[in-house]
Symmetry: C2
Subunit: 268 residues, 2 copies
């Protein structure tokens, strides 16, 4: 049985219903996003998942605690409800960056810890694990003040592993001198909630958000990192999540087929 899951963001502009059908034909899972779920309709999404039998490996995404105030807590409760309704055990969290004009990165990180304390029990009751995703340090100011896997694990530490874990995404952490120790630690602590893969390519595009490379096109040691994640005891789905303008400009079914093939060649 393949562990591959296709994250909808990889073919962002492809109709969600068609992506689910493609995943069903391929016999793989899917990573969903809240906005397309809402657009397609959550009940309709649930019906489509039931009809096709496609498992939802993660829901993306909650978080943005640092800039959202009280409203972000309420919104994250709704995200947890949606994750449960969609039948996934994992809600991916991107913490948020610095508030406009702020330089207080420690303060922002403290807000993330506070938000987790509010949300963790609620997530646990829903059977959903909050997966703190460290984002590459190039996003530290504007998207995510959590920059390393160790930091995510430190934030998760006060909570049961069923409530709070970490997202291991090759794109964001491949460069970390402490990577393999951190992956082993994540395994020991039972915190690997999801494993996502994307390759690192340069030059980065302006804004750096949409430069994630197709598997095999960059410098990430995919098999080595996968072996480390396996050795850490994680045997769950492996999601391909690529934010890439060039992929997004192409037909979804073509990108889907290419991604499945690239996964088999470079990861699976």
């Amino acid at each position: 049985m393949t562990r591959l899951s296709f994250n909808h963001a990889t073919a962002k502009f492809w109709d969600q219903g068609e992506v689910i059908e493609a995943c069903a034909r391929e016999g793989i899972g899917i990573g969903l996003w809240r906005e397309p779920v809402a657009e397609y309709g959550i009940d309709r999404t649930i019906a489509k998942l039931k009809e096709t039998g496609v498992p939802v490996t993660t829901l993306c995404r909650g978080g943005f605690f640092t800039t959202g105030g009280r409203e972000s807590i309420e919104d994250n409760r709704r995200a947890i409800d949606e994750a449960r309704a969609l039948g996934t055990k994992v809600l991916v969290l991107v913490s948020g960056g610095l508030p406009e004009g702020s330089r207080d990165i420690d303060g922002a990180r403290a807000k993330v810890a506070d938000a987790l304390a509010e949300l963790a029990p609620y997530a646990g009751d829903a059977g959903v694990t909050l997966a703190i995703e460290p984002l590459h340090p190039m996003f530290a100011s504007d998207r995510c003040v959590v920059s390393t896997l160790d930091q995510a694990l430190d934030l998760a530490a006060p909570f049961p592993a069923a409530q709070v874990g970490a997202a291991v995404d090759t794109y964001h952490i491949w460069w970390d001198p402490n990577l393999y120790a951190a992956i082993a630690r994540a395994g020991t602590e039972g915190r690997i909630a999801t494993f996502q893969v994307a390759d690192w390519t340069t030059p980065l595009p302006a804004g750096v958000l949409t430069g994630r490379g197709q598997l095999g096109t960059g410098c990430v040691e995919m098999r080595r990192i996968k072996a480390a994640v396996d050795a850490a005891g994680y045997d769950g789905p492996i999601e391909v999540e690529l934010f890439n303008d060039e992929l997004w400009a192409r037909p979804g079914r073509e990108v889907f087929a290419e991604t499945v093939a690239a996964y088999e060649e470079h990861v699976g």
Copy 2:
């Protein structure tokens, strides 16, 4: 006495002789680059420095060990000779990224360690400290496989501090969850060879090389980091080094004056 030093790269296209004169008028030091030194003429540069009394706080830069082979060792010996001739005690090293087509980041890091072992005694004999500069992880694949201050300190550890130290540059390490512990460690180990400042602003430009912000325009906690570097026992020059297309497009003397004022307001 001001600790400010103006790195020539901040006004990259301004004639080196004019930059030295501006530094003399302001009573500050200068950070030089090998290429403009060669273009201006090293003997002529030395004469100009003598005439004006401007101290050279660093020479930028050696390194690129990962992609340069034997030739890079020879080139770095020449860089050490140039540093001594210019009267600076610090040669800044950017390690280099991954060789074309390579995914072996551990191998590249090992090459950096090997190159340091060859060069450190030669640098020590010349009275020059090799300052390993961790670059922001967004440069890990194409410019520098050394991404954190701790990693630079680990690489420096086998050598006397007079031979190998680290460059502390706010732009590259401000995001590090372990920043303040690493700065304290660098001080304890006597390894702070130079302190450089630049601000972090977004959105990053394509290629991400030329987006360093003028002091005060971004989110780096300048005074806090400076206080930590001071507390770690470093009392040497503070260099402003900005790679910024917008600054480079403006007249050098205007950028110089703006930079001196920004330093006084946000750092000094």
